[in-house]
Symmetry: C4
Subunit: 258 residues, 4 copies
Amino acid sequence: MPERLNQIKETTVIQLKDVKLKNPVIVEGLPGVGHVGKLVAEHMVEELGAEKIIEVYSPHFPPQVLVADDGTVKLVRNEVYADKKHNLLLLIGDYQSVTNEGHYELAEVYLNIAEKYGVKRIYTLGGYGIGQLVDTPRVLGAANTLELVDEMKKYGVLFQENEPGGGIIGASGLLLGLGKLRGIEAVCIMGETSGYLVDPSSAQAVLKVLSKILTIDIDMGALESRAKDMEKIVAKLREMEKAQLKPISTEEDLRYIG
Amino acid sequence: MPERLNQIKETTVIQLKDVKLKNPVIVEGLPGVGHVGKLVAEHMVEELGAEKIIEVYSPHFPPQVLVADDGTVKLVRNEVYADKKHNLLLLIGDYQSVTNEGHYELAEVYLNIAEKYGVKRIYTLGGYGIGQLVDTPRVLGAANTLELVDEMKKYGVLFQENEPGGGIIGASGLLLGLGKLRGIEAVCIMGETSGYLVDPSSAQAVLKVLSKILTIDIDMGALESRAKDMEKIVAKLREMEKAQLKPISTEEDLRYIG
Amino acid sequence: MPERLNQIKETTVIQLKDVKLKNPVIVEGLPGVGHVGKLVAEHMVEELGAEKIIEVYSPHFPPQVLVADDGTVKLVRNEVYADKKHNLLLLIGDYQSVTNEGHYELAEVYLNIAEKYGVKRIYTLGGYGIGQLVDTPRVLGAANTLELVDEMKKYGVLFQENEPGGGIIGASGLLLGLGKLRGIEAVCIMGETSGYLVDPSSAQAVLKVLSKILTIDIDMGALESRAKDMEKIVAKLREMEKAQLKPISTEEDLRYIG
Amino acid sequence: MPERLNQIKETTVIQLKDVKLKNPVIVEGLPGVGHVGKLVAEHMVEELGAEKIIEVYSPHFPPQVLVADDGTVKLVRNEVYADKKHNLLLLIGDYQSVTNEGHYELAEVYLNIAEKYGVKRIYTLGGYGIGQLVDTPRVLGAANTLELVDEMKKYGVLFQENEPGGGIIGASGLLLGLGKLRGIEAVCIMGETSGYLVDPSSAQAVLKVLSKILTIDIDMGALESRAKDMEKIVAKLREMEKAQLKPISTEEDLRYIG
């Protein structure tokens, strides 16, 4: 079976199932600052009962399997879920590329999927790290057309000069930049976050705005309860800081609780 | 001889010898945490008198030769040994890939070899580093089918929630993940270990379980004596720690005693 | 549209507009030490009213978009501007390659553009970092022919033994080295600078020499006023240093004010 | 001229001149530990009046030009010189590969050159770093056949168990390892050195042995005088150490005096 040799030597798209969608939009929530986008998109997959239609494997992902609670493994991958009712495609995953070129390769693969389904608009989700704990996270945006900037402002998305100062890195940025070259509208919606912790509270803020934009009603109970759990952990961290214990290793752990 | 130009610009499999095996299994023991898998697999090669049938060279290995005691050199490589009596293929080597893509490329090469020999099951061996010295190492597992999880439990392999938390990195993980995509059953058997030292005691624990699974009787004398030597070194290290000497450089050396 | 798949998997040149130029020269001012070259070239684009004719995208650039003040994004890229009046091509950009091979690939792409337009000479601009604040920056040079060294000396460009000691890294160096292999004359003109700060004062020194060489009169008002602003910041930094505050993070910020 | 596009996107061999040699040997002296090999090979090029016949460029070298005292630049490269009188090919250069795969690619390129000239034996030169200053450097060896080990012993080359412990990294190692796969005899001759400084004294020790092996009489005056200069610098460093000044930055500088 020569065609199977070197199977995952290149980025590989495995179509598990085909679906018909009318003018769908993509919501991207891959891991990033505060795992804000990941929390939102995975929450949506669950609440909307979306079904997995695509798996993406790549030698640009870490050479790693993850172990589930039942002892079985899963190769690191990205996944696309479809919500037929709302004509949504949701892009989630364990990791982003670990190589520079891989980021470009994978973003182009996602845009190919977008074109295949006739996607006209992409929402990328992320966190905007400000280096300190945030009480009421703002929701900021950046878009690849001026019309989209204006449209998003109506939903309360903030567009501020010099924010985000360092640009947007990874899939959330590239889907806008590379999408523009293909004529696909795309906007990045970012929740303000410290950047140190998984942040379900920032995710809630992003989801509120996104559900208004998409006119989809999504139950936020699960995110709210995670946000409350995290608040307790943050309170504990603040106590620890006061007691002059260094919380770095704890933060490290928390990063992966999300 | 144009076909020899740029010989090792890509991963290259050199078949030294061909053997006939009946439904063989592969045991992988490449370098990793505590060199647990390497110790087990190299011990098996020696005790079972397995013969080398394949050498794998790759530009993804370090650009390095190793010098033997007689002054001759060996290019860094991985090797496959065959034990015809027990229908075993043993995969050992000096290093794993040093590039991200190389890990995927090499794992696919090993799976190609597996398919060529009609291998239906792969055992990957490794250490599970817990960051502190272990008195009685547990043997943990992860598999690429639920049936295999259940089968392994019968032999005393432990499958624990959240262990290993960070997943399994390198060949021991990829052979499970990529193997699943090819329909090849694979299980990773990990010996608990500190992660700081070459650990023949953890290797012994893994080998006990593995020899039961494979129903092969393997003399453990050599591993036992290495474990005793290491116990002495560990005892010495503990004394040094008490005496407030920093043991880091010593550990570094020990890592390569294995 | 199969030709659009994987669009930016390789370095991609997008020709926005074609222009006719007579024996043009290229001035390269990509980011580098003190952003000296970038300041000069961007100043020239603005003052000469040059128009953008080419965009270069590459997977060797950071996987990132930059956000403009109006909320729209721009994929990281390099750009070529044309000044028809003076037969100039100006090469500017946000970043240089982040991979080793990418530096070579991009430099060859720029040389292909040079050959397409019949360019016979390239001026690369840069900073020469000396590790301490500079009051009156010297302008140093290096060229890919001895004739060009002699010609440049007439304009006050200094050629000193052992300067720059570490060679010239990135596009400013490669365009000379790779240009030589193609028979294209090229000279690098470097303004002395600390290497810690964006340095419009060093840029002014370089521009003075360059405008003499090109016999183009360029208003320096904007650069002068930036240089004065930076002088105030430097004065403040020096005070801070005296007051024993560590100025490192401030420098970091300043680097991106430019 | 399409064949010139992307000229140095791959490793490129430029043949400047062709020479006829009878059963030549290659002496490799690229940069490495203590620049021992580089010092020896460059000394031989000069003393024997060898002429440059090949230049090798590669995107795996640093993206850099070096500036000569006359102000002209040279793209980072490796070079092959021929000494027709002694049927020698000498491989020298500014840098080795900076990528992992590049090391393999370049070594194969050198072996292709070796095969083209009918080379039957390669001498690679290097330093063996022991982490402390050496008074009388020993000369150690490693070879790719046992016969060559025995032959070299006759010339006083030492072959010691566990030396060098970490193997041989870079071209000096790969030419042995990859050479073996092509059936080309190769031996690495290493001068003991601290590893912190350019070491002309160690180079002298290596050259003495090598000139006996090759039965070539080479004037050592220049190396001797450099060794004496370095002894003075080392004496100064030792004084500084006593005076408790940290000599690290000085060492850094010295590394590039060589």
